[in-house]
Symmetry: D2
Subunit: 372 residues, 4 copies
């Protein structure tokens, strides 16, 4: 199979997620990076593009110029990856979809639910595939968890707990840290801080694995580090219909790295997954025993098995999980419908979640989470 | 030192916590069990008492008879341990205090805040020591955690998360299980189920280690197993002044045993403790490293060192933690003031917590937690 | 049931294992400590005895006097616990057995195989029960492991690995530390240092759980800390017939506490147990999954279930494991034959192991381990 | 920087390590795969080459033809990656070096020490860089461990223990499993089975991290699964001068995946690393505390920091470790001398280790490990 021609937005020197997109897209040779706007600064964009082997005339600093130039080429791009700060996710995705291209966007989909709805409308009218990088959905053991919950292995789900502690914003690092600067700036990030950056990952994971949908929530968002305009810590009570849940995310949990942790409690068992042991899935049994399953072993279902590249005991991680989403993206571009790629529906729900959480926090009360 | 003469209420065949009191009281030979009312059933009480070496004429079935009989003896009891279902904690403790005895009560203090206030009044007028078995306060590494937070090792506390999952009530076991039967019966337990049985432990631990006090809460209590009258799952948003917190406890978390888990996040570090690794304390550092401290090692403070009996690497557990509370109780009886024994103040706050949580759940909104 | 009257040898101030015997014997009220020679120093023995509630006239400083005095009493001792340095294990046990008493001896049985054979002869002619405190045999999950291996759950055993790292002798602490002083002194300890103190525990555990017997070994013993006369580190190749094994024990593994770790690999699965998670047993399955079993849960066999006192999730540890051996001791005294108490046969094998290991090290070659 | 043009030998459908080389070489875009002999079967080689985007005329089935064809091209290969069964490592590497190419060979270097010496001679006379994929040397935390030991953080090394259990050959899978077939066939693998396949990794890691060199060993190799001609389990006593060590490796440890585990005990601390938590390094301190360091954090040294691509808490694994070796390879090709790439010296020692282990096992005694 010929690799799909891809342009990348973002990923300039010092960026985090752009380079992840680059590696993930090429790990299984399903995509070839042929163009990009890696920075709004010409020199930075050019130096990054050259380092990645992109031809000089296909390196740009803004989306419009890139789309215009590529449209003229016989070997122009077929897909775009968006890894810019949040505020530009919407306009780039909208332009790409309108240009007939496929889109893999970093989350969040947009910075407002209104924009998300607008983008959903554009996507519905466009031929391209739209994928959203809820990375955790790419992990083999999350695929196994989802499949097992769906197959009834833990019985009816009765409680969901999800916890996502980080500590890297425990100090006012915004001045010196490009990653921190845009994430704590409402103009670039939108109305949510921690809730939009990582809380939404926790929310997505809870719904994705359990198959349930949040119907009500009560949020408590805090700006712990003085001077910050956006929340850096958030705690939420959830209801998935009658099923209770709790979600906690923080960027001021000093010393924590990226410890996303999910528990789905069912009538017949509990599913437990921790990001820092990403290749394991634990199932607590009603009889008191625990079964641990490992990535790469033969007792996993098809979805999980297809998501490992190397034998059990040889750890794969974040880049590989991301690459699994790019694998889904390639499958979807090829016409497959049975894939696990998060897309428009996930984006709409996640934007509704963020806005409802912010509103609940401000109102200090429970609010329904409307189906968008 | 002569052991203190103790009577035990509760602890009949099939009971859990009564036998723990018995073993904990005698582990370090500070107390001698000389009397008791181990069951309301004469035969059960007698057979239990005999098995524990209690003289036949000091085995009773109710508190009044026991107090009356012991008062006549020159070698009568000096202290009582109360390990009965919740509803009798108050009357037995009140009678004991009025009789000039020392009291070690299992939690909760009473079944209502009003009773707790009444008991506080009685205690204030009585010569005896009143201790309350918030067991987790007896663990060496909890003592170390508390000391380190107080000493400023993690800086100002910024977030507290506490999680207490159990799974043993994931099914309607009430019919067959004595422990489950009284805990799910409002007449014996009071207005709270899970919140009063284990949620309150989580609450106490959070305050005990952090040194902060909950000022507001928003609770979501659920009766997950059909037919139950009391909550079997509870999730709460907390505020300790400006400091956010989250508390989750469950008795329907299938397959979970007793996984109490505390995280106290400070500006300079995070303290982490898990009951299933009770001899360890983890401190996450601002520089990204984690320090693990172990019970029995020389780098612990006085309080933790005094709470271990055997060298590092030789695990001690629940009975030993409980025995540490009995050690505090003995110290307090001996006149010491510098001990870690939870008492009247802890009991009042915990009852206020339970009642406020139930009220918040019913009102579906945040409520202040008044200082009782 | 009336408690069995027990005398304790050793356990003076600063001792480790004597106090463990004291607590373990009384935890389940099967034994009452009524006499003892807690130290060879009169004041130390007396102060310890008083602290433990032993009557003044039953506190001694040597065994002969104690035996003589107790023999005259109508309520004299029925059993003795020996927790002195190694060199006196043999004479005290021999005298006690000859006096018709039951004996619970700390390991090792003696300091030479010849003495062990002599003691075996004495025991064979005596009415008393002889128990040897291979403590790890008292852990519930070791009982479960042994039962499952015996029942064929992991198939034919194919490899055994056992590792026992400690770090407390990583420095020349002998001058200041009573525990270290006798253990590093050949006159008190015998011909083995680390091999006799903890290597023998690892050896016993490997045989006890696997049911196999070591037939050949090749040992490498080292004196790592300069000036030491006895080994402080030992590594051994083992053969259990055709089945290979490896044993490593150390007292100079800096920072290690007491991390005994056993792996028994069978054709159908692997059994894994770690002392620092003593309430867990892991079974690695041929299909790549791992099952973790927990102490106190209902899916364990009779032996393990009988060895827990409190519900799952409430940790029990070393004292409780030791108390389980005392429970076996009480059962054996009562005439039971189906118990797990290590005794004469275990002692003989362990002494043969120590002597063969020392000889193999000196010869720098494989030696057969004779059945003693 | 322009990517270096690379040919790959091996990596056909069903292979394990060939695809790892392919991904590792391209992950950081330092190499471009432009040619290869992916299988000796024409159709298999071609289909694999096409899937990886290699031009049809650069896909071969044997090394000679490939070298000849590439030598004629102006854009011919500059480097080769060898991922074939062991027996062809030597001839391909020799031919490549003689052709002036750079070589990254999978381990082992050759199948005999004599061949290794011959290859060393060839390499000494050739302009190309020779790298050997002792993968574990590519992990960030192994780089950190090595740097800290070298800097004296744990003091003088006193004991080394390394354990490498796998379970995938616990049954006679050779008939159906290509990976198993060649590894258990002396004609393709050489004189060692488990010892040459994974024992040698454990050996290399022990020397690489400790900086010490094995001077003597006593090996016990076993063929556990009936009918096997090569060892599938091996246990060794080691001496690094006066420093004792123990090495255990197995491919019949049922249910184990790939749990390489290293402990280096020094006078001032212990370094511990486990492959299944590859992003962590634990340092046990003399005071009884343990420090855990994490990949991607700022408290690591330069070597470890340069070996992470994404922030702490975002797991990287085996492919990334392998890519770090390719990064070293690229640096060495570019003329750098300060890199961590294992090469000729590592290969010679590892072959001497394998042959000495086999000889020691046959002789049933200790043998010196000569410096090759």
């Amino acid at each position: 199979m010929r690799p799909i021609r891809l342009a990348l937005f973002g990923g300039g020197p010092g960026a985090f997620i752009g380079a992840v997109h680059r590696r993930a897209a090429s790990l299984d040779q399903r995509f070839a990076l042929v163009a990009g706007a890696f920075s709004r600064d010409r020199d930075r964009s050019r130096s990054q593009g050259q380092a990645w082997g992109v031809a000089e005339d296909r390196i740009h600093t803004d989306a419009d110029a890139l789309f215009a130039a590529e449209a003229l080429r016989p070997d122009g791009i077929e897909a775009v990856a968006i890894a810019t700060p949040n505020a530009s996710h919407f306009p780039i995705a909208a332009a790409a979809l309108r240009a007939g291209l496929h889109v893999m966007s970093d989350k969040p989909m947009t910075t407002t639910l209104a924009d998300a709805r607008a983008l959903a409308g554009i996507a519905a009218a466009a031929p391209g595939v739209y994928g959203l990088s809820f990375t955790y959905a790419g992990y083999p053991m999350i695929r196994e968890a989802r499949a097992r919950v769906a197959a009834g292995e833990i019985g009816a789900v009765r409680k969901i707990a999800v916890d996502y502690p980080q500590g890297w914003l425990a100090w006012p690092v915004e001045a010196d840290n490009r990653q921190a600067a845009w994430r704590t700036d409402p103009a670039q990030s939108g109305i949510g801080g921690c809730i939009a950056d990582i809380g939404v990952h926790a929310f997505h994971l809870a719904e994705h694995v359990s198959g349930l949908r949040v119907t009500e929530l009560c949020a408590d968002l805090a700006c712990v580090v003085p001077g910050r305009q956006l929340d850096d810590d958030c705690n939420l009570l959830l209801r998935f219909g009658a099923v209770p849940g709790v979600l906690s995310a923080s960027q001021i949990a000093t010393g924590e790295r990226n410890g996303l942790r999910l528990r789905v409690h069912g009538a017949d068992g509990t599913i437990a997954w921790d990001h820092d042991r990403c290749g394991e899935l634990r199932i607590l049994r009603a009889d008191g025993a625990m079964t641990t399953l490992y990535a790469g072993t033969g007792n996993l279902g098809d979805a999980a098995r297809a998501a490992s590249r190397i034998p059990a005991g040889h750890p794969e991680g974040f880049i590989e999980a991301f690459a699994n989403l790019y694998g889904d993206f390639a499958e979807a571009i090829g016409g497959a419908t049975a894939h696990a790629l998060p897309g428009i529906a996930d984006g709409l729900r996640s934007m509704a979640f963020i806005e409802t959480a912010v509103a609940s926090d401000q109102a200090r009360r429970w609010l329904p989470l409307e189906q968008p």
